[in-house]
């Protein structure tokens, strides 16, 4: 039983990470009906942005708390700027093209970003040990051990998700986002600059992905140019599981997938060797039995 709860809490940590990335997939899909397959790489480049700041810029005398904060901010900004840039140069020109064109472009952008890091980042094909800036230590909750880092990952993810929720459901810009997702032409008739809203959506997804990049570095150092691929596919699975286009669904899907993966790793024979394959089993099952996902109905009707 204790084992079970241990896996469950490990699943929550993983799930928090998946949920943060899944939100970017789902928000972009909700607004422009595009699966942004480059989103995993936007996450990966954010992690590299944070790493770069720490490794090349920050003085080593800086207190680690401040360093972590700066690494986090820079990672978030890196991913957000990259997401906005990709939207502007790769997707916007294809706004009225057949749906397949931006999808294939997204795959192209994804490969281009991976290869850019591999080829042009100093020693880019080698993994980078991510700075461990959070205090080490563990807490014991009735036999379930959580590291301080685990708690930080979950807390930060929750804070970011609640902030996003407040923004989307309480602010005027958030309202315009939901309007654009529901009916873009009518949103324009309300005076909404939908191009701007689309960029904002990519930026929000990028901010969360960048934060996730740092969290990934904290729980699974080293980082390399490939981390976006697996994490991206898993987060995409989480978004589909929750009902793509649905914000609450992405969070639910992320945590569900994290928990499924942690439990399966433990209880399926030879599970740890198969660790990365459970997500795809889930993806296939969802697509076969409930393609609209847990919370999905009509996708276009929600942000």
């Amino acid at each position: 039983m204790q084992q079970f709860f241990q896996q469950l809490s490990d699943g929550l940590v993983l799930g928090a990470l998946y949920a943060l990335i899944a939100l970017g997939y789902t928000m972009v899909y909700g607004i422009v009906q595009l699966i942004n397959f480059a989103h995993g790489e936007i996450f990966m480049v954010g992690a590299f942005g944070g790493y770069t700041l720490y490794h090349y810029v920050l003085p080593s005398s800086l207190p680690s708390g401040i360093a972590l904060l700066l690494v986090l901010l820079v990672a978030m900004l890196t991913s957000a700027l990259l997401a906005a840039f990709v939207e502007r140069v790769a997707y916007r020109p294809l706004r009225n093209a057949p749906r397949l064109a931006p999808l294939i472009t997204a795959i192209g952008v994804s490969i281009a970003l991976q290869e850019s890091i591999r080829l042009f980042y100093p020693n880019g094909s080698v993994g980078k040990p991510f700075p461990q800036l959070f205090p080490r230590g563990t807490v014991d909750l009735g036999g379930v051990t959580l590291t301080y880092v685990d708690l930080f990952v979950i807390s930060l993810a929750l804070v970011l998700m609640l902030t996003l929720r407040t923004f989307v459901f309480r602010s005027a810009t958030g309202r315009a986002m939901r309007a654009t997702a529901q009916d873009p032409d009518t949103a324009r008739l309300m005076g909404v600059d939908t191009d701007r809203i689309i960029v904002i959506t990519f930026v929000l997804g990028g901010l969360l992905a960048g934060a996730a990049g740092v969290l990934q570095g904290m729980i699974a150092s080293p980082i390399d140019f490939k981390i976006g691929f697996i994490a991206g596919l898993k987060a995409f699975t989480a978004a589909v599981l929750g009902g793509i286009g649905n914000i609450t669904g992405a969070v639910l899907g992320g945590f569900t997938l994290g928990i499924v993966e942690a439990l399966a790793t433990q209880y399926v024979p030879n599970g740890s060797a198969l660790k990365d394959s459970f997500a795809f089993v889930v993806l296939v099952l969802v697509l076969v039995f409930r393609p609209t996902g847990l919370l999905g109905e009509s996708v276009r009707s929600r942000a």
């Binding site: 309202r175 529901q182 032409d185 949103a187 008739l189 929600r302």
Partner: protein, 236 residues
């Protein structure tokens, strides 16, 4: 100078020209109606005026300034509101949120006051203000669509078939609303298939047929015009 001047407007969907050069004027304070059978190009015209479609040729002047190169959100900010065909309320948002979106192009506190004014005009909406707009009846949705358009404090209000699909009582209520807005001095461009009711209200009417203006006149003149009566008022 008219508030709105449309000069030789042409609009195409791909290779197919839907609007083949129309011109029309809307004077400040007037109600102008655009009538014509299904497919004549009325909706296409309004969507072009509000910037959702780009004309192939021609000019749109609003208060003397070109609109036809502007984006839709810039046109709203200039004072043109468009309650689209089929109402197009945001079904998953509350009535109140829909109205607040109507004021998206504005800033300031007067917005709450204008929401209250819409609720005064349509008490039914006030009762349902916290309800998802998708749960409203067709007539209530139309009230919401008109109220939402008014929230931008437009200088020109464009209504695309506001009576479409409504019960006779609701149709009456909607036309009463248009008459009240007219009496209050609102400039309105009204698209209708319900030609007699629209012409009865209108200062000027334009009859559209397959993308061309085939007849123009004052509302009362068109209402008594024999060709109009035959073609659009179901008489023979």
């Amino acid at each position: 100078m008219s508030l709105l001047e449309v000069r030789d407007l042409r609009v195409a969907y791909g290779a197919i020209e839907a609007i083949k050069g129309i011109s029309l004027d809307v004077e400040e304070g007037q109600v102008v109606t655009l009538i014509g059978t299904n497919g004549a190009g009325k909706t296409t015209t309004l969507r072009t005026l509000s910037g959702l479609l780009r004309p192939v040729a021609g000019q749109v002047l609003f208060d003397g300034a070109r609109l036809d190169k502007l984006k839709a959100h810039e046109i709203v900010a200039r004072g043109v509101a468009h309650a689209p065909e089929g109402r197009r309320i945001f079904p998953l948002m509350t009535v109140e949120e829909n109205l607040e979106l109507g004021a998206y192009s504005r800033k300031g506190e007067a917005i709450a006051q204008d929401v209250a004014e819409v609720f005064e005009r349509f008490p039914r909406l006030h009762e349902r203000r916290a309800q998802k707009a998708g749960t409203l009846s067709g007539g209530e949705q139309q009230m919401l669509a008109i109220g939402r358009a008014l929230m931008s404090r437009p200088r020109l209000l464009m209504l695309d078939e506001p009576s479409m699909g409504l019960s006779p009582i609701m149709i009456q209520l909607i036309f009463d609303t248009v008459a009240e807005l007219k009496a209050a001095g609102t400039t309105i461009l009204l698209v209708e298939q319900n030609a007699s009711a629209a012409l009865a209200l209108a200062d000027t009417g334009y009859v559209l047929e397959t993308g061309r203006v085939v007849l123009t006149g004052t509302g009362p003149d068109l209402l008594t015009d024999e060709n109009v009566r035959k073609a659009y008022l179901g008489e023979d």
